[in-house]
Symmetry: C2
Subunit: 424 residues, 2 copies
């Protein structure tokens, strides 16, 4: 397959979104003669796999966030702009943003996904999502405040709702979060709140399908289920949520659960700025791309990672929305943009599945590699090593390592702080 | 002087405020047979001397904050309530709080001080205070956002206002903060924002009196002034602020300064809940106390630290509002409450001045001890050692030490993150 893009230098590359895909692309391209512009709502890269540890007060937000400006400090042709993209104007080759117009020669959309509430406005208004550091921190504050409030309420029903947590979605986020909350319940909360009887606290994990961790092997899925039961999590498979009113979760089978903390980790939907023609969107609000990650119908617009839907052999519904795909697509696109500049043909993306893993708790993890599957303590060590090595910044790596060691030996962090910046 | 308090057990001691004074009192009393209640707006103790490092992205808020519940985890007779005190009712011996009524036998007011804007409502609305971790974090976000905005504005006047900082108050907070900002300007900002010419950034430190660090020796005051000049801070002594409109600072001598970041560290005023009779208040809205820290006119209400005004020989206007006084008064009161319980006479408070110190920048500090005064690198080491040892929590101590070491060798942190919790 041959590229149809004219072999002239597309000199100004604008990337929307500094997640795994956008950041990798920028890092790969920074040594080349492009003018590079990164647009992100935040001034930092976020390490999504550890959001759940921020939410459960195991890590500080700063440990899994890294300022873009520090990464590209010495690169004078990398421009970082903290703003929202309001609209893309493909005809005029420019973006309308919160800080004005930004022109591009090549546009790369790497905006990822946002929480999918499947059109339920109650869920959107009341459920806690887990798609950013800010949301994870907001959830942490909420959980801590709930126990402060549980101390003082005299209404038994309200107290029960404050103690309980319901997590929807049996993917890695839901599994890891419910495991971490179960460990808080066991090791920390009874010490912090001796006035509360935590036998009355229930953690529910709801999954609509018949199994947890659907992207992983049956063995890992089964083990994760057993580990969660062991930690005291009430796992409900084939459980569809119908609604939530801020106090009660209504399930499709007619049963109800009482909780003030309803966490929604049950799906994502593509999050693309306005202005892209409707015909370029596929299933899940993702942008249809060819095997070079070029958005169908456009010559100079690319999409990467979670937002991109590339239909290939074995991936008729696109690739899984995981960090590995983001990073590999970004690396391939970086190479292709350089090839384009050099007048060479572009290379088709080929996904290499490096495996997947999830941690359920202390010494408990599941790992599926292409050649081997294993669970338990060694899987947990591998999980920690892989995540530590993936974090941006040597100091962040060190800080997380110390935090984990500390937590392992003391069973207790000192991060249960409800801190909100006070601005004028 | 003899105590007039009846020698019966005052069994329920309620402490408002978990700052240096309240926390020390609680720690000293926890081994005794009192029922102890701590009321604080936050669920954590804050280490005020390092707020300026949070504001300048040198430390994380979590490093200088510590959850009360973790400190008192094993103490079943210590009750912690996160709420505001609305009013004290001394007749009925109870507090009206955000979570209902709380009775006391003995009440200890350790609410400290709040920023004193001297009745200027513009300052109150627009100036940045530095009296809490939340305010320091809000200031950090503001400073970082200002440089993002300076990048994109085309109005030269607005740009100048975004680059400049004006700090009012030549006490330790103002001196340490302006020194830290000067180091950001020198080592970090030009690398983060190569598009901005930081020769145009000006840092002003305004002090109404003829000298900086008025509580310290003439030598230290003079050295601090020289260090700040060396770092490029424009120090203006005898400079009275008349007003601020959000863009321009108006000085009493008719001159003006342009800034969007106007930091007010020029004074504190006592911050006591309502309900205490007017006659018990002295200068600076502080509560008049006898030499046992008992509020005049009450038998069972005490005040500690910044909020207390104890007139003694050499301290006709009360003791300095510094951590040393808070801690020593708390220790003395703890001993006195136990003595009261044991039917013994209370002991008068005697202040022991252990000295004071301030750091201006890398290798630059001033230290006044009772027996010796010194400045420079060794003073800086002593400053760091004393502050590290004063921090609550071994892990916090370790984390701060690593941060400081890292900063010393790399000249650069990775904490310039604008993170706000997102709640529902």
């Amino acid at each position: 397959m041959q590229s149809n893009i004219p072999k002239v230098l597309q000199s100004r590359i604008v990337i929307i979104g500094g997640g795994f895909a956008g950041l990798r692309l920028l890092r790969k391209l920074q040594r080349h003669d492009f003018q590079l512009v990164l647009i992100d709502r935040n001034n930092y890269h976020q390490f999504q796999p550890l959001f759940y540890q921020v939410a459960t007060a195991g890590l500080e937000p700063s440990a899994i966030s890294f300022p873009f400006r520090k990464i590209f400090q010495s690169r004078k042709h990398v421009f970082i702009r903290m703003t929202e993209v309001v609209r893309i104007d493909p005809e005029a080759r420019l973006l309308i943003t919160g800080i004005g117009q930004i022109n591009y020669d090549i546009l790369v959309i790497a905006t990822g996904g946002d929480t999918n509430y499947f059109g339920n406005s109650n869920l959107k208004a009341l459920a806690y999502p887990m798609k950013s550091v800010s949301e994870a921190l907001g959830l942490r504050n909420r959980i801590l405040e709930n126990y402060e409030n549980a101390l003082i309420t005299t209404d038994p029903e309200e107290k029960q709702g404050l103690l309980n947590l319901v997590i929807v979605g049996g993917g890695p986020t839901g599994v890891e979060l419910s495991g971490a909350i179960a460990e808080m319940k066991r090791f920390i909360l009874p010490k912090d709140y001796p006035e509360i009887d935590f036998n009355n606290m229930h953690i529910y994990l709801l999954e609509a399908s018949p199994a947890l961790l659907n992207g992983m092997s049956g063995k890992s899925s089964e083990k994760a289920y057993q580990y969660l039961l062991k930690l005291g999590v009430k796992v409900r498979l084939n459980a569809m949520v119908r609604d939530y009113d801020g106090k009660t979760v209504f399930l499709a089978n007619g049963s109800v659960l009482s909780t003030r903390t309803f966490i929604w980790a049950a799906g994502i939907t593509g999050y693309a700025p306005e202005g892209v023609r409707a015909a370029s969107f596929g299933k899940g609000n993702r942008l249809l791309v060819d095997s070079f990650n070029r958005v169908t119908g456009y010559e100079n617009i690319y999409a990467l990672g979670d937002i991109a839907l590339m239909q290939q052999d074995g991936f008729s519904n696109g690739h899984p929305q995981v960090a590995q795909v983001d990073i590999q697509q970004a690396a391939n696109l970086a190479e292709n943009l350089v090839r384009l500049y050099d007048g060479k043909q572009m290379k088709s993306f080929i996904y290499k599945d490096l495996g997947s893993m999830a941690t359920i708790g202390r010494n408990l993890a599941v790992v599926d590699l292409p050649f081997i599957r294993f669970q338990g303590f060694f899987a947990w060590l591998v999980w920690m090593f892989v995540h530590l090595m993936s974090i941006v910044g040597v100091k962040n790596r060190l800080m997380i390592f110390i935090n984990w060691l500390w937590n392992y030996f003391t069973y207790d962090q000192s991060l249960r702080l409800i801190i909100r910046p006070r601005t004028k």
